[in-house]
């Protein structure tokens, strides 16, 4: 069995054992809010406050209508949060699971999937808030919004690849999750989340989003939801290309590190 086939088999085996990673991921969420009064409701409160506060101020700052700006900001920020969390937490997926990896024979990928569960809960809650915001402002939602579903699939795959790459690489380089946290903080403000992409275009700063793969991953979900129509073809093409690139990198990294992870922990 070639190393690549074995890796793919391990990934499939991990996916099939969804009960294990789903349970671990949900336990993490409960754990995070243990002994707090409202529990995971904090995710909802945080997001609502954040979007309400920042949204109204920034709408004025960027001369946007609150009615269209708030939904745009909400969904962009929520997807961004998902991407950022899967990248940084992905980096800790194997490191934090050391006790399990050294004792149990499950494919390591379940610990990456656990991180995915962890990050998907805020994504789901955030998307709900987006729909509430749309309703409050009486914005129309058409059937075209369903285009966000294939977008979501692309987003999930990309996030899984990101998290897996980070999981392997961070076992070798323990600085990586910290470094990514810093980098993502900066990236958040240059990625078109707070401002529409046309403000960059108007100033001839197109390269800022064109070189940012995370922008495309946001757009495949955000555009259909906000405008009830598919994103432009170019967005899908670049996203697909980026996924292929991630896959190649992941296979290379996993081939090199998969068998060594347990020794490096």
């Amino acid at each position: 069995m070639s190393a690549t086939t074995e890796l793919l088999n391990n990934n499939l085996k991990a996916l099939k054992n969804w009960r294990v990673w789903f349970h671990l991921g949900m336990a993490d969420i409960r754990n995070k809010f243990a002994r707090s009064l409202v529990g995971p409701l904090w995710i909802l409160l945080n997001l609502t406050l954040w979007v309400g506060g920042i949204g109204t101020v920034y709408a004025a700052l960027f001369h946007q209508e609150v009615q269209s700006y708030l939904p745009f900001l909400t969904i962009g920020f929520v997807v961004w949060g998902f991407l950022a969390q899967t990248i940084t937490d992905g980096g800790n997926a194997f490191v934090f699971a050391e006790g399990y990896i050294k004792q149990f024979t499950y494919p390591k990928q379940i610990y990456v999937l656990r991180v995915m569960v962890n990050a998907t809960v805020p994504l789901a809650i955030g998307t709900t808030i987006f729909f509430v915001v749309m309703l409050i402002f009486n914005n129309p939602i058409g059937l075209g919004a369903l285009w966000s579903l294939p977008g979501l699939v692309l987003l999930l795959i990309a996030a899984y690849f990101h998290a897996s790459i980070m999981a392997y690489a961070s076992v070798r380089f323990r600085d990586l999750p910290h470094g990514m946290t810093s980098l993502l903080q900066v990236l958040m403000f240059v990625t078109p989340i707070f401002f529409p992409v046309k403000t960059l275009k108007e100033r001839g700063l197109d390269f800022i989003y064109q070189l940012n793969p995370l922008y495309y991953l946001i757009e495949v979900v955000r555009h259909p939801l906000v405008f009830s129509e598919p994103a432009s073809m170019e967005i899908y093409e670049i996203t697909a290309g980026y996924l292929v690139l991630l896959f190649v990198v992941l296979i290379a990294v996993a081939k090199r590190f998969d068998k060594r992870v347990v020794y490096m922990l």
Binding site: R19, A27, G99, K102, Q103, F173, D175, K259
Partner: protein
């Protein structure tokens, strides 16, 4: 469960640990090693925990592992469990393996004993329904009582052992790999654990366990492997191997 006969086959297995220089773990250390080139201070030394070990264990065998600390007993168990992939050689195991190693790791410290039973059960291959069905039995065997409602960070080492042992043996494994766990429970629990081990062995499954207790080895194992500095020093009937080991440890001219 697959019908092929239970077996563990380890062939010329080599396990290598990178030790010493932790600089290699950081980005800074890595960059420094690029700058200094190989041969600089960052070249990490290796320790071969296993230096070409071959073992074949078949259904019904109860195998003991002895040897001084660091001889490679735990490493060999982990190779058998499929946790350490050998860097050279192969390890093939047929049968549902249930490892029980380094208790007190692999717990969710802030979760209750109940929750940890569920998680461990799942990681050992039980379905949620199976676990729920076996919860009372596991709880009873562990004798932890009300402590199961508390977060496991409040547990003592002995309590971790009770919990881990209760779960691991409840999954009804075909191959049980134990790493010096029997010593840590108190007297009454050790009695219970012994009883369960005997039941397990009567079913013709494979048991491999490492221990420093010659009494336990003599009682349980028909075969014993003496590990010494990452190689097998002797592999044979327990009575002989234990005797030779004792002689070697007690004699002044020991290796």
């Amino acid at each position: 469960m697959n019908s092929s006969p239970l077996s563990i086959t380890v062939t010329d297995a080599v396990v290598r640990f990178q030790v010493g220089n932790a600089d290699g773990q950081t980005l800074k250390g890595f960059l420094a090693s690029l700058k200094n080139g190989p041969g600089g201070r960052n070249v990490a030394p290796f320790v071969d925990a296993l230096k070409g070990v071959s073992v074949k264990i078949v259904a019904g065998e109860r195998v003991g592992l002895i040897g001084h600390n660091g001889a490679g007993k735990s490493t060999l168990l982990k190779v058998m469990a499929g946790i350490y992939p050998p860097v050279a050689g192969t390890a093939v195991t047929h049968g549902h393996v249930c490892p029980l190693f380094e208790f007190a790791t692999g717990f969710e410290y802030h979760r209750s004993g109940w929750e940890n039973i569920r998680i461990r059960g799942m990681l050992l291959g039980m379905s949620p329904d199976e676990i729920e069905a076996k919860l009372p039995e596991i709880a009873a065997f562990s004798e932890l009582g009300n402590f199961l409602d508390y977060p496991v960070r409040t547990y003592s080492t002995g309590m971790f052992v009770r919990l881990a042992f209760a779960v691991s043996t409840a999954v009804n494994p075909e191959i049980l790999l134990l790493d010096e766990v029997m010593g840590a429970g108190d007297l009454s629990f050790t009695e219970k654990a012994n009883k369960r081990m005997r039941e397990f062995m009567d079913q013709g499954k494979i048991l491999v366990f490492s221990s420093h207790s010659m009494e336990l080895l003599t009682e349980y194992c028909n075969r014993t492997i003496w590990m010494d500095h990452g190689v097998i020093r002797e592999d044979g009937p327990t009575a002989d191997v234990v005797q030779h080991y004792k002689n070697s440890v007690l004699s002044p001219a020991r290796v």
